[in-house]
């Protein structure tokens, strides 16, 4: 299908150019379970957002919808001015097809709780494959950038190893390098340290901290590491019962909020750690 960029779909974004991702009254149900009941959320380029909330509150679902792994039941998600889940066809707004999704989600990258590395490929191939096949980058340059990225996450000496030969912390750092070589504008992290042995958490957080300090990429971090969130995030969002129950700077939310559910959540959290 030729470029079908509709005026009406674009309008939403033209008036706020400093927003890279915008959730507009996004709802999601699984069967008759209403997991998300209307999420409104704007994320600025380079902004670091920490998403916290009780188990089952829908944190994963929010970012999976942005990665196109889950389709919203209602509402819209705008990525860099483009409507993610809808496109224009003959002047009408219709559900996006695969081609449209691919056009829009190219700006998004994601790191998973369980790494999801490709087990049949070496570490280097894990990183090179998508730039070569998806972005049509030439092999040499993809290879060079992948090596640089793996060196940056401290795995320059593991290029020819297979994922099965790495520790959890190393796997997660590969997963980050793999996502980063695609140069996303927004990177999603879904509890990327919670499947790791405690002594390996530090090395992964350190990489994320470095990324955050470099700055240009927006990041949404679903995390249970409150201290880390306090440290790295520009904004903390507390999700509860399908809505954003509280948001603000880390210190506002984590230290000075009087939202009762949030207090309970933080309290339970601190006492269990």
């Amino acid at each position: 299908m030729p470029e079908v960029k509709s005026e009406s779909l674009q309008e939403t974004s033209t008036n706020n150019e400093d927003v890279i991702v915008s959730y507009k009254d996004v709802k999601k149900s699984f069967g008759d379970v209403h997991v998300l009941k209307g999420i409104n959320l704007d994320i600025k380029p380079a902004e670091k957002v920490a998403l916290i909330g009780p188990s089952g509150s829908g944190k994963t679902t929010i970012i999976r919808m942005l990665m196109t792994l889950e389709e919203p039941s209602a509402g819209e998600i705008i990525v860099d001015g483009k409507n993610l889940w809808h496109m224009e066809k003959n002047g009408k707004k219709v559900p996006a097809n695969e081609k449209h999704l691919r056009e829009v989600r190219g700006d998004i990258g994601m790191v998973f709780q369980h790494f999801n590395l490709f087990p049949h490929m070496t570490i280097l191939e894990n990183c090179m494959t998508a730039p070569i096949h998806v972005q049509k980058e030439d092999k040499e340059s993809a290879r060079k950038r992948s090596i640089e990225m793996l060196e940056k996450v401290g795995l320059g000496d593991k290029l020819e190893n297979y994922p099965s030969q790495l520790s959890g912390g190393q796997k997660q750092r590969v997963a980050m390098a793999r996502a980063l070589v695609m140069r996303p504008k927004v990177m999603l992290f879904d509890e990327v340290t919670s499947a790791l042995d405690p002594e390996l958490v530090g090395e992964v957080l350190e990489v994320i901290r470095d990324l955050a300090e470099e700055g240009e990429m927006a990041m949404i971090l679903v995390t249970h590491e409150m201290d880390f969130a306090l440290d790295v995030a520009d904004r903390v969002i507390f999700l509860d019962e399908g809505v954003i129950a509280e948001e603000g700077t880390p210190s506002e939310v984590l230290e000075h909020s009087d939202n009762e559910r949030l207090q309970q959540f933080l309290h339970r959290f601190r006492s269990s750690n």
């Binding site: 792994l69 695969e98 989600r105 994601m110 490709f118 049949h120 096949h133 297979y162 994922p163």
Partner: protein, 208 residues
């Protein structure tokens, strides 16, 4: 021995056609198209649920008489019966292997913005094929054994030649069938070796 040549011909043609059939039917069963899916499901169940000899006789004797479809030669009738039969079994392996690739692999490749086709070709299939290999190897040997059935529709394969010799001189029967055994085993040797090799390959770099 001409019998060996015929057995080998039938075997190779059946292997090629059988694996192709396995992949085609395997993918069809995973397709979104309900008609395609149920049609292949029907094919798979029919061919798995009836015996190879019966299928062979159908293709060679019954179909030409009932519908005037002449397969052309007993060679193609034999090859077709074996490959359709084994294709049906192996399509289940294809389908099962593809389905058992972890969901996270689909998600990671989507997150890297791969197209459906790229995801299948670069990520899912290579892992699924590794799971298929050991079982495919076993079917290779089973297929060899099944080729002996083509002697029943008058093909001069190893077994058929053996039968001829035996008919000429009944006292030779033990020697003849011993030789037949040896021939089959010699052909099977490289297949067994290949199967081992495939198992080895499938172990490499898969467990995550």
């Amino acid at each position: 021995m001409k019998g060996v040549e015929i057995t080998l011909k039938v075997l190779f043609a059946s292997i090629l056609l059988g694996y192709s059939m396995a992949f085609i039917a395997g993918f069809c069963r995973l397709s979104n198209n309900i008609i395609l899916r149920s049609f292949t499901g029907f094919y798979v169940e029919v061919f798995r649920g009836t015996s190879l000899i019966v299928q062979l006789f159908w293709l060679y004797y019954a179909l030409p008489m009932l519908f005037g479809w002449d397969i052309g030669s007993n060679f193609w009738a034999g090859v077709l019966a074996i490959s359709l039969n084994y294709g049906a079994y192996m399509s289940e392996i294809v389908r099962g292997s593809i389905q058992s690739v972890a969901k996270g692999q689909y998600e990671a490749s989507t997150a890297l913005n791969m197209s459906r086709f790229q995801r299948m070709r670069l990520i899912i299939l290579p892992q699924a094929v590794r799971m298929m290999l050991p079982e495919f190897g076993n079917y290779l040997i089973l297929m060899l054994k099944s080729t002996s059935l083509v002697s029943l529709i008058g093909m001069a394969d190893i077994l058929y030649q053996g039968d001829l010799l035996k008919d000429a001189n009944l006292s030779l029967a033990p020697t003849v069938y011993f030789l037949v055994l040896v021939f089959y085993f010699i052909i099977a040797l490289p297949l067994i070796w290949l199967t081992k090799k495939m198992e080895g390959m499938s172990k490499k770099g898969v467990a995550s």
